[in-house]
Symmetry: C2
């Protein structure tokens, strides 16, 4: 981190934020502010929020403008999963001249699902000379893991990814967009018919953009999943009964002008005991290559990727800059 | 490939070269020359060498200087596995002002095992304004696959890779440096005591360089492997008897000043029926993540990576430029 530590604001100190606080400290970043409107957290020291056993001298504030106006190199936004919810927070950072990176899954590559919001934020970011972006687990395991394999392939017919994670690890915002606890009628109305863009929908555009392929069409199928017995959900604070969705599998299928199909299936479910995360890719063509990640810890890998990305994002050109355009996230050694 | 196709010379048209000829044609490269001193190949059309069923109008020549003096954007060298053998061929390309990329495994990151040769070639390449480098399977599966996972990790204690391949797929040059067919005494004298640098020895330096880690020590252990029954080898053209090595496992262990251990084990063996290639990485730390490639086709992936790398290498700065310094190999679509 050299002589002048990078000044970081954490915006949202829930499940992910509390891990990120510790990661920032371990890597020598200067945590200069924590923003959250949860009354249970406001006024608490960030060290207590992260369970560090010591104070950091940074207290959680619900006055975002006050915190951001003190200046920072970058803000980490761990708030919500959709761009429509995130736009005001990205915009707020931009207006304060603070770069921002968010765990918002749609922000990974929002041009496919929210092009107007992305354009507005891109213009605002350029006006204020800051970079806005999204990253996390998906940056590596839905993105560069697949494109690195592609780089060794002569002829690709399709790139097919499947990833699952435990909705209970990510908090209520993510559970909501997965239809957790909904009846089939609710799921049909609020998720399927609303055609809420799934996280899978952001993957083909990211990959196509990095590889220079032209995406010609994309569509998604959303499939709720049920159990025949009650399953405890910590996020909902109750059992999910048979007839209520544990979450869903979402599959996005895209075609490109160059003949490469890109298919991503994302399964976000409240896990039962024994369920583990999975992340597999098959690149079909010459040759066909399959790569599999064994029980990835998606929460830690999301926080790890975000923190490792900070120097690259700060140095990136202004705008809403998606990360397929930069080299892959680079490991930063711990210093503490 | 735009209007002006990239002009490529293939230097060595054995097992790998014949695949590369087809890959180049499929991706719209202009194959302008093929060099080989094998009397069975000299005078043959490259299309016949590659089994394309049609002539390409490019005939195999044993006059390397004549071919290189006609000019080319880059030469692909599929000749030998060690830098000491490859130095004159790299130097020859440089003197003709032709960039060169080689499947030579040591060329992947030769600074660890052959620093003087690398320095000489680096100076010569800069003098002539060309880039010299090595790539292939190792570029992706021993390199960027591991570092991409590292980029999502908070704290790395060790990076541990293991890879195996069938020596019979790669020809006699590679079999020789693996001790294939040697008695224990021969192996001890010609491989173990000679401490011939194994391919594993080039991996930790590549990874450390990309991650900005300082390698403080590295050592290797070479372990011959035997069978209790005869095993047919196509490369040796005979059975390998019990008491003769099928090849070896080589393990390189490196430490870094930042506390990250990097361990690579490479198993090069004449396979028995049912054996398949494997390539696994475990990144230990917070979190621990394991990634596994299912039966990688190392020959096709080597040729695919080399061809996909060509535009990046041509555009790279002059010198002996190892590829951990560039972004990962990027998939080029086929055009034919």
């Amino acid at each position: 981190m050299a002589d002048k530590p990078t000044r970081v604001v954490l915006y949202g100190s829930g499940l992910m934020g509390s891990v990120i606080i510790r990661y920032l400290i371990e890597k020598g970043f200067d945590l200069v502010g924590v923003i959250d409107n949860n009354p249970d957290l406001v006024g608490k020291d960030a060290g207590a929020v992260a369970g560090l056993g010591r104070d950091l001298g940074v207290v959680v504030s619900d006055d975002a403008d006050a915190v951001l106006s003190q200046g920072a190199d970058i803000a980490i936004l761990t708030l919500m999963s959709l761009m429509s919810d995130m736009e005001p927070f990205f915009a707020q950072c931009a207006r304060h001249g603070v770069n921002a990176i968010s765990t918002c899954e749609e922000a990974f590559y929002p041009r496919t699902t929210s092009p107007e919001i992305t354009d507005r934020l891109d213009a605002l970011a350029k006006e204020h000379g800051v970079t806005l972006t999204g990253s996390g687990y998906q940056d590596v395991y839905w993105g560069n893991l697949a494109t690195v394999i592609a780089g060794s392939t002569q002829r690709i017919e399709s790139m097919e990814g499947v990833s699952s994670y435990n909705v209970d690890d990510y908090g209520i915002a993510l559970a909501k967009v997965h239809g957790v606890g909904m009846t089939p009628e609710q799921f049909q109305r609020e998720i399927a018919e609303a055609n809420v863009p799934s996280f899978a929908m952001n993957v083909p555009g990211w990959i196509a953009s990095q590889l220079g392929l032209t995406m010609t069409e994309i569509s998604q199928v959303l499939m709720p999943r049920y159990s025949d017995h009650p399953v405890a959900s910590t996020t909902l604070g109750r059992d999910i009964e048979p007839g209520e969705a544990l979450g869903m599998a979402a599959r996005a299928t895209a075609k490109t002008a160059e003949g490469v199909a890109i298919i991503m299936e994302v399964r976000g479910l409240v896990y039962e005991p024994g369920d583990t995360d999975l992340n597999d890719w098959v690149i079909r063509g010459e040759p066909t290559t399959a790569v599999s990640v064994d029980k990835p810890n998606t929460v830690e890998l999301t926080c790890g990727t975000i923190v490792n990305r900070l120097p690259q994002v700060i140095a990136a050109p202004p705008g809403f800059t998606t990360l397929e355009l930069l080299p892959p996230a680079k490991y930063l050694p711990v210093v503490a």
